[in-house]
């Protein structure tokens, strides 16, 4: 049975695991964005936060992913459900690119434009939402793109602790020495990563300010 035939026969399972994978990546990216962008804005506006925020995110990144999954397993509420744990871990890994790019994006906005806005009487909130963020959007999105692509990859490891997703195919395939299963997990995961990279990259280009 060749690979396509295999995929066709097991399409329900493939679809289910792909959706599980998307769930893991989607929720964690959303959380990283909700937490990371404000932290990035904070570091950009108040440099005193720069070191602690970026420093912490950096430290988290250096922890090997499987080790982080392992650390979190014994934690009471988290360890009970593997997908909760995986989502938390994925969120933590997604933070650094989001925070760092938000910081860079906001700092990269032309100081003259910001000053003109201030001088015209824009409140700090208006300045942030109508000037700084729209102009930094492309760079921030670039950070989100990196976060998503990395998450798609990391989520395959999450299957090792039972969180499901396409990694499950890979681990099962490894245990059974079944290449088709491995590919059934690896190829959709690669496609997911590539399409996310491509579509977000396209969006980035469209949003780039002149």
């Amino acid at each position: 049975m060749n690979f396509f035939h295999f995929m066709l026969q097991n399409h329900e399972q493939v679809l289910e695991l792909t959706l599980e994978h998307l769930w893991l990546v989607g929720v964690s990216t959303l959380l990283a964005v909700v937490v990371g962008i404000p932290l990035g804005i904070m570091s950009a506006h108040w440099p005193v936060w720069n070191k602690p925020v970026l420093g912490t995110a950096n430290i988290i990144q250096t922890i090997p992913s499987l080790a982080l999954f392992g650390f979190l397993l014994p934690v009471p509420w988290l360890g009970d459900r593997a997908d909760r744990l995986a989502i938390l871990a994925l969120t933590l890994y997604a933070l650094l690119p989001v925070i760092r790019n938000t910081y860079t994006g906001i700092r990269g906005v032309d100081r003259a434009v910001v000053e003109a806005g201030r001088g015209m009487g824009l409140t700090p909130g208006q300045l942030l939402f109508q000037v700084e963020l729209p102009l930094a959007l492309s760079v921030i999105l670039s950070g989100v793109r990196v976060a998503v692509v990395v998450s798609v990859g990391l989520a395959t490891i999450a299957a090792a602790i039972g969180a499901g997703g396409l990694g499950e195919f890979i681990f099962r395939g490894l245990a059974m020495v079944n290449n088709q299963l491995i590919l059934a997990g690896a190829i959709p995961a690669a496609i997911l990563a590539l399409s996310a990279d491509f579509s977000l990259g396209w969006l980035e280009k469209r949003l780039r300010p002149r």
């Binding site: 003259a112 000053e115 806005g117 824009l122």
Partner: protein, 260 residues
């Protein structure tokens, strides 16, 4: 001179000082009055404190000593956002929002002040005509405009909410000589029509003589002297004289508003 509301100064600096957090003084002992409807030029070289002075008017900077009064009230006691919205601010290179069209740039303050779309639209059209921008540029983005056009948009934007005061920080500095000349002319005619109180920062004596009703010469954070253009040309004050000499010929015509 007795002060009545009719002749009270629009802007006042009372013994103002501005010192940086690291202790470096940018301004000291500044006493200055700007009368309603005049164009006061702050002239000086970089580091003289002229931009700092300008920014103290709309409280982009806060004085570390003394008080700045605008329209009879100390700026420290005024709501800063309201203050800034009632003052037009034009900077070098215009500082236009690159992600907004010309239209949205000009209409910014009216929009955040809550004007109706209709009213904003009419105002924008009016202003574009006033500063000499073709109506079809309304939907363009700043990067699609020339330097001169951008600066015109900057001025239109500053005038949008019809402020009484206009602050201009070397607005024509980045333009080529021809465009600069053109815009200076247009500024003069605009001033004649609108009668705004303008504080204009420049390092160019020619421009100062041409545009200012009075010239405030600044050096090292202190006000050296305030003179009318004609007085400035004949001044024996050492720094003023040095300026006149440095700028060479043809200043007369500048002092006479370019009628040569």
């Amino acid at each position: 001179m007795e002060r009545t509301s009719a002749n009270s100064p629009e802007i006042e600096f009372r013994d103002v000082a501005y010192v940086l957090p690291n202790g470096q003084p940018l301004l000291s002992g500044l006493n200055l009055e700007v009368q309603r409807g005049e164009t006061l030029v702050l002239l000086g070289r970089s580091g003289s404190g002229k931009t700092t002075t300008l920014k103290l008017v709309n409280r982009l900077l806060t004085p570390t000593g003394g008080e700045v009064w605008v329209n009879g009230t100390p700026t420290a006691a005024t709501d800063v956002i309201g203050l800034r919205r009632s003052i037009g601010y034009v900077i070098q290179d215009a500082g236009l929002f690159p992600h907004y069209t010309v239209e949205r740039n000009i209409g910014l303050v009216p929009r955040i002040e809550g004007w109706t779309t209709e009213r904003i639209h009419l105002r924008v059209a009016e202003l574009m005509q006033l500063v000499g921008l073709e109506a079809n540029l309304a939907k363009r983005y700043p990067h699609q405009l020339s330097g001169g056009q951008r600066q015109r948009v900057g001025v239109a934007r500053a005038l949008a909410a019809d402020p009484a005061i206009l602050l201009m920080d070397e607005p024509f500095g980045a333009l080529d000589a021809l465009t600069r000349d053109q815009l200076q002319r247009e500024f003069l005619s605009l001033q004649q029509r609108l009668g705004k109180t303008v504080v204009f920062v420049t390092h160019d004596l020619r421009e100062a003589l041409r545009l200012g009703s009075r010239i405030a010469l600044m050096e090292s954070g202190k006000l050296v002297t305030i003179l009318s253009p004609q007085e400035f040309l004949r001044s024996t004050e050492p720094l003023a004289a040095a300026y006149v000499q440095a700028f060479g010929d043809g200043l007369d015509s500048a002092a006479n508003r370019g009628m040569s």
